[in-house]
């Protein structure tokens, strides 16, 4: 609250008419509250908004927006006696002082200073009251903060996801096409050249270009498989599983689509778990199950390998656990030494 005199005085003096207006509209609404609560809610919301603007403009007091009809009605009704008291005290004292000053008695200045001081005190009291009654309680403020954090976290995840898509798209439309064109030119050159060192050099450049293309292809699909957006989890996981060196039993029962961010996390959980299986597990049987039930997407990756898989700090599974947690999902690894290993995740996916 700024320490400025005039706004406080204005605040206290306008408090009475504003409160009067408030009571005048709220009382009839309260009268029909037995029939419908809607008019009360609407009127209280309107008056509260007006008061919030007034406090912000005159006293620089920001009151967070919240819906609490009872409490706020209490303030608007209480504002009338308070406003009347304030008006009487400030206006009375000030006009008495001014009258003394006009009749050339300097002692009137004291009364004016007292009036301004009283306005300050009353405005501050009003602000405390308004914060308590019009604004959120501590619990409500915490709830609002939590909701805000959840919202911004979801935005951050969506942004990271969109960024991966953008990079995938850029590489696909740019680098990959140019590399294909380059490899094609080298292929044509190789065909056109007669045997000799020149042809050998072009031949090796051609092979190298093809190897780079294959490497880039693996990298880009790992970044974000485009088929995931086109056809969903089932299709993307089919492609993933088909590209692995060992057979995987895949069972997907999703029925419809989950939000893009959720599908992406689900895909990468399975992808990372399968990478671990093929690298370390020495498993003979691997099964992936993805089922949606009651608005939750459940993923399990089972293998009968050597076990002992844990989320190393900074490792792929650890990173995935964080991504899963970021959307309020759960992530578990059960992998006793000697196996079997089960990686489980549950993600929200609106039903």
């Amino acid at each position: 609250m700024r320490r400025r005199s005039w706004p406080s005085v204005v605040h206290v003096l306008t408090g009475l008419p504003v409160a009067l207006l408030g009571v005048a509209v709220i009382l009839p609404a309260l009268g029909v509250a037995v029939v419908s609560a809607r008019p009360v809610r609407a009127v209280v919301a309107g008056r509260t908004a007006a008061q919030r603007r007034r406090f912000a403009a005159l006293l620089d007091v920001e009151i967070a927006e919240v819906t609490a009809v009872r409490r706020q009605t209490g303030y608007h009704l209480l504002a009338l006696p308070l406003g009347a008291l304030g008006f009487a005290a400030v206006a009375g004292t000030a006009s008495y002082g001014l009258a003394l000053l006009v009749t050339a008695r300097p002692v009137g200045a004291v009364a004016v200073v007292v009036a301004v001081g009283a306005a300050h005190a009353l405005a501050r009291l009003d602000a405390v009251l308004a914060r308590r009654l019009l604004g959120p309680t501590a619990a409500e403020a915490l709830d609002a903060r939590l909701a805000e954090l959840a919202r911004t976290r979801a935005q951050t995840i969506a942004a990271a996801d969109a960024e991966r898509r953008r990079i995938e798209r850029d590489l696909h439309d740019g680098t990959q096409q140019r590399l294909v064109a380059l490899a094609m030119t080298l292929g044509a050159a190789r065909t056109a050249l007669a045997d000799g060192p020149g042809r050998d050099a072009v031949e090796s450049a051609h092979q190298e270009a093809k190897a780079v293309l294959a490497e880039l292809r693996g990298f880009v699909r790992g970044l974000h498989p485009a088929v995931l957006d086109d056809r969903g989890l089932d299709a993307a996981l089919s492609g993933l599983v088909a590209g692995l060196p060992q057979p995987v039993e895949l069972h997907v029962e999703v029925g419809g689509r989950c939000p893009q961010a959720i599908e992406a996390i689900a895909y990468f959980v399975v992808s990372e778990a399968l990478t671990n299986v093929t690298r370390h597990a020495r498993a003979s049987r691997v099964a992936v199950t993805v089922v949606r039930r009651d608005g939750r997407l459940r993923l399990t990756v089972d293998d009968d390998g050597v076990g002992g898989a844990t989320g190393r700090p900074g490792g792929g599974l650890e990173g995935l656990a964080q991504r899963v947690a970021s959307v309020d999902g759960t992530f578990r690894i059960g992998s006793p030494p000697g196996g079997p290993t089960r990686v489980e995740a549950e993600l929200p996916c609106g039903s």
Partner: protein, 214 residues
């Protein structure tokens, strides 16, 4: 031979036109999206349409959808799809209705000019050209039961055959003799319980139907 190219990368399109021109294949139209492709096919009635899977407007699977529509409307026009990745699901969609005059290859394959031109000619003639990666994906997903009875060499032969190659091409690709290929092919058909087929295309069909059934 007259073909239509649908590819949104101008650079690649220009390269393809040059490459195919050198091989005596006439590119009668070049377009950059699926709608343009369907119009161009109606107008020029080409022998084959060479189609990129990802095209405007959504850059997802326009090419696959356009290919399916084209096959439904004009079954006599052969279709060869090119893509940066081969996806099992797209292959399954494409192969569900038709295998004749159909190809699905990784874009990388255009770098091997002779083989690529050969694949175009094979598809235009009503044959099949499946990328080894497509075949590998189909085989991996169905790597159960009778396929396990195949020797590694027979598996190689089966994979190459499923790409749409003839016996002599399989022999060349694997560096073995023509008689050996014939022997392997007979063994494969026997082990999988397939009816022996006379033409390359019908052999591919038999293999694909077998893979689809698994």
């Amino acid at each position: 031979m007259r073909i239509v190219i649908a590819e949104d990368s101008v650079l690649l399109r220009a390269g393809l036109v040059k490459l195919l021109g050198g091989a005596g294949i006439e590119v009668v139209a070049e377009v950059g999206d699926d709608a343009g492709l369907l119009r161009a096919v109606e107008r020029h009635r080409p022998d084959l349409a060479l189609i990129d899977v990802r095209m405007p407007p959504t850059h997802t699977d326009e090419g696959v959808r356009a290919a399916l529509e084209l096959k439904a409307r004009r079954p006599e026009v052969a279709v060869l799809l090119l893509s940066q990745y081969v996806e099992e699901r797209y292959a399954a969609d494409l192969l569900a209705g038709h295998t004749g005059g159909l190809g699905y290859l990784l874009k990388d394959r255009v770098a091997d000019v002779d083989e690529f031109v050969e694949a175009i000619r094979r598809v235009a003639a009503g044959g099949t050209a499946l990328d080894p990666e497509v075949v590998a994906q189909l085989l991996v997903r169905r790597r159960t039961s009778p396929l396990r009875q195949l020797t590694p060499r027979e598996t190689d032969v089966l994979a190459t055959m499923a790409e749409g190659r003839s016996n002599s091409a399989i022999a060349a690709a694997l560096g073995i003799g023509g008689h050996a290929v014939e022997k392997h092919v007979n063994n494969i058909f026997a082990k999988l319980g397939l009816v022996p087929a006379d033409t390359d295309h019908r052999r591919v069909l038999a293999v694909l139907q077998y893979l689809e059934r698994r």
